[in-house]
């Protein structure tokens, strides 16, 4: 969607809603603020639900009412009690989500600056109302036209195509170098697969604050239950070990590979190679593995960096444990001197789907 159309939408929004603050709301500034939301929410053409519901036409929407999104009980209850999104209610929600709707599952700390709230509201309004709907149609059509021929390439076999001569069944066709390059992005500890590029800790810090901190916390400490990325050194033999890149991961290549293929969550493969180098450098910095903000990680020095826990991984030797010793005949009668006594009851008695959500951690499952 073009900038002028967005502005038009915003103006239309301003006209509809009464009680708008007197100072100007800035759609472009709002678009920047929305980066904080974008990892969880989509707007615009073909916006889909991600971690959060898509936010097209959110103004006028009853809270928690979008079909196909699994809201928290409290958000649905708020909607049932008549909460409708408008300037005031969205504003209050964005200031302190958990205070405004107790039990909301939006794991977002809130926007501290009033100005940010107003601007992001202006930006969201450019995706609400009829003006935008009409404006988006041509875009949509164009996108579809572009997409169609792409999906047809090589899908339909040509009847009189020459028979391939590879393998046993001569099925499939040779993969083209461009195709392999597009999909083969994996990295190995020995550096195989690393693309050319570089990035500094300082640049990584900017990117991290913009695109990662909403979930992983400004210092990689993890907001709510989102994964912790830093700290935990020296805790691996504790009752509750904290396993992070610094305390646990054996190889730096894994960080590069994973961030490039899967992060930010909900917008995978959107980072440039330089961005991934910078973010990887910053994750080293958050874990005190490098201490210099000017440190630059690149394809040249990458394999020189070693993670502290590398030596502590061993191969599977479960079969050497005493309980699997060969020839053990299990006892069948009088196996214990005393009758059984209960030493522990289930901690979580009622694990119903609607059970209390903040029951407290039984520990990670993945």
């Amino acid at each position: 969607m073009s900038k002028s159309l967005k502005l038009f939408g915003a103006v239309a929004g301003l006209l509809i809603v009464t009680g708008v603050p007197s100072f100007a709301q800035d759609v472009d500034a709002g678009k920047k603020v929305f980066r904080k939301c974008a990892s969880c929410h989509a707007v615009g053409d073909n916006a889909k639900n991600k971690v959060g519901p898509q936010l097209n036409d959110v103004f006028g929407r009853t809270a928690g009412s979008l079909d196909g999104f699994k809201y928290s009980k409290s958000m649905k209850a708020a909607g049932a009690d008549g909460l409708v999104w408008n300037d005031e209610t969205v504003g209050k929600y964005l200031e302190k989500p958990k205070a405004y709707i107790k039990g909301t599952k939006m794991s977002f700390a809130g926007l501290k600056k009033d100005k940010d709230v107003e601007n992001v509201i202006a930006y969201l309004k450019s995706f609400s109302g009829e003006a935008t709907e009409e404006a988006e149609k041509p875009d949509n059509a164009a996108a579809n036209e572009e997409k169609k021929p792409q999906t047809k390439v090589a899908a339909a076999p040509v009847a009189d195509a020459p028979m391939a001569d590879h393998g046993t069944y001569h099925l499939g066709r040779p993969a083209l170098p461009e195709e392999i390059a597009a999909w083969d992005i994996d990295i190995r500890p020995d550096g195989q697969g690393l693309p050319a590029g570089s990035g500094t800790v300082a640049r990584g810090g900017e990117l991290f604050d913009e695109q990662c901190a909403v979930c992983h916390g400004s210092f990689g400490e993890g907001e709510g239950r989102w994964p912790v990325l830093a700290g935990g050194q020296g805790t691996l033999t504790d009752d509750r070990p904290v396993k992070t890149i610094g305390s646990y991961w054996p190889y730096l290549s894994t960080v590069f590979d994973y961030v490039k293929r899967a992060m930010p969550f909900g917008n995978a493969q959107s980072l440039s190679d330089d961005d991934v180098y910078a973010l990887t450098a910053y994750l080293l910095y958050l874990n005190d593995i490098v201490t210099d903000e000017d440190f630059e990680l690149s394809s040249d020095n990458f394999t020189e960096v070693r993670l502290p826990n590398e030596a502590n991984f061993i191969d599977d030797n479960r079969q050497d444990e005493p309980q699997y010793a060969a020839g053990l005949e299990p006892c069948m009668s009088n196996c214990m001197p005393e009758p059984a006594k209960v030493t522990m009851h289930a901690r979580v008695l009622d694990v119903t789907p609607e059970g209390e959500e903040d029951e407290g951690g039984a520990g990670a499952i993945d």
Partner: protein, 430 residues
């Protein structure tokens, strides 16, 4: 003890009479006798003496449901999740209702789900499978190409390595759906992976594979070539119909007996290499931290395991004293199950249970133990032994060998306490 009549063979019936208002008056008498032993009917059962609606009025014709669904009385047989286990439902998990199932096959819609980037929805016409790396001919296959390879059918269990992972530090979740429900067992139709690799031609130094998913998590795992050439499949059907989207439609990797995370869903690429990749799911995750701070990696096989699915916390005994059926599941990633023993007294004395149904390698096995319950408290346990002679260990043996921080590969013996009223709870005993 009342002598009120009750239908023990059709648990649904008592629930039905409980649900359907008018009849429930008479049914209510029976319901109040829960836990009682029944022998003689005091009053005639109106479900028999009165004509019921379904005896008289015509039901739906064919095609009322072009894709059939379970009876409305089975509405509680569903996958369930535990929301607080993960940060959000997209990278999360739910559990197979194994306590409500029987036999060895899991219905497709009840197979537990674990995704790392949500369920990818892929039109098979848009799906490609690439094989690249240390091969003579890097290839791209369409679904149509894949359908022209020879196929095989096999029943295999898939268990998440984190199944029972919450129970390392002691009993946590009250239901075998939650303690043991990250497992399912279906018949796959697929292409032996060996054939696809041979089609591309393996280079002499090929030793490892990196299968990769097409979803938003781009899931990858390193798989040793020997396993791929042995029994891995690229599957496109489960229980005869197309894979469900949440199970990787249109194709997934099948890695029999090995941890579920390796069974890459929405499989789009297989790279051949000479070393493992050490990706996130085999370093940060799916490595087993031991008490001494060392961590095991590449712990692929799922060890011998069993659980009693009924009675269990979600399946208490509601019929009172008398003849009862104890049943459960046993499986091993090393092969077939040779024997299952059950104990009613917390492991002091054991009896060998009856295995029933097909006994297939790396598949769930069903066991039964029928007995007369005298109404006293019980501590139920089951212990499986596989064809290699591996005996399912106790939880304390595992803790002694590994500590409590492993998360994965908890195959310890489960204890259910059945109280005199039939209520059943997840406990640990000594």
């Amino acid at each position: 003890m009342s002598d009120q009549s009750q239908d023990k063979t059709h648990p649904n019936k008592s629930r039905r009479s409980f649900l359907s208002g008018g009849v429930a008056v008479a049914g209510g008498v029976a319901a109040s006798a829960l836990g009682a032993r029944a022998a003689v009917a005091a009053t005639p059962d109106p479900l028999i003496t009165e004509i019921q609606e379904w005896n008289q009025v015509l039901g739906d014709g064919v095609d009322a449901a072009p894709y059939g669904v379970p009876s409305e009385f089975e509405a509680d047989v569903v996958r369930r999740d535990v929301p607080w286990l993960t940060a959000d439902p997209i990278s999360s998990i739910n559990f197979t209702p194994i306590h409500q199932l029987d036999g060895i096959i899991t219905p497709n819609g009840l197979c537990f789900e674990r995704h790392h980037g949500g369920v990818a929805q892929i039109d098979p016409a848009d799906h490609r499978l690439m094989i690249n790396g240390l091969v003579d001919n890097p290839l791209v296959f369409t679904m149509q190409d894949l359908m022209r390879f020879p196929r095989e059918n096999h029943v295999y269990f898939l268990e998440c390595a984190a199944n029972s992972g919450m129970e390392w530090r002691g009993s946590q979740l009250n239901g075998c759906q939650f303690t043991h429900g990250m497992v399912h067992n279906v018949m796959y139709t697929g292409i032996p992976l060996k054939l696809l690799l041979q089609e591309a031609g393996l280079k002499p130094n090929a030793a490892w594979l990196l299968p990769e998913g097409a979803d938003a998590s781009g899931m990858t795992r390193s798989v040793p070539l020997d396993k791929a050439l042995d029994d891995c499949l690229v599957a496109f059907k489960m229980n005869g119909e197309a894979l469900r989207p949440e199970q990787g439609y249109p194709i997934r990797l099948v890695v029999p007996g090995w941890e579920g995370n390796m069974w890459i869903k929405w499989l789009r690429r297989i790279e051949v290499g000479d070393q493992p990749w050490h990706h996130r799911e085999e370093t940060s995750k799916y490595t087993d931290l031991l008490a001494n701070g060392k961590a095991r990696r590449f712990t692929w096989a799922m060890d011998v395991k069993s659980v009693i699915t009924s009675p269990s916390p979600q399946m208490p005994i509601t019929h009172g004293r008398g003849h009862t059926v104890l049943t459960g599941l046993a499986w091993s990633g090393h092969g077939r199950i040779k024997r299952v023993d059950v104990s009613l007294d917390g492991g002091r004395n054991w009896q060998t249970a009856r295995l029933d149904g097909p006994s297939l390698s790396k598949s769930l096995h069903r066991f039964y133990h029928e007995f007369n319950w005298d109404g006293s408290e019980m501590y139920l346990q089951s212990r499986a032994i596989d064809e290699l002679g591996n005996v399912q260990p106790t939880k304390n043996e595992l803790r002694a060998a590994r500590g409590e921080n492993s998360i994965y590969h908890n195959n310890g013996i489960q204890t259910w306490q059945v109280r005199t009223d039939g209520e059943t709870e997840n406990v640990e005993i000594s």
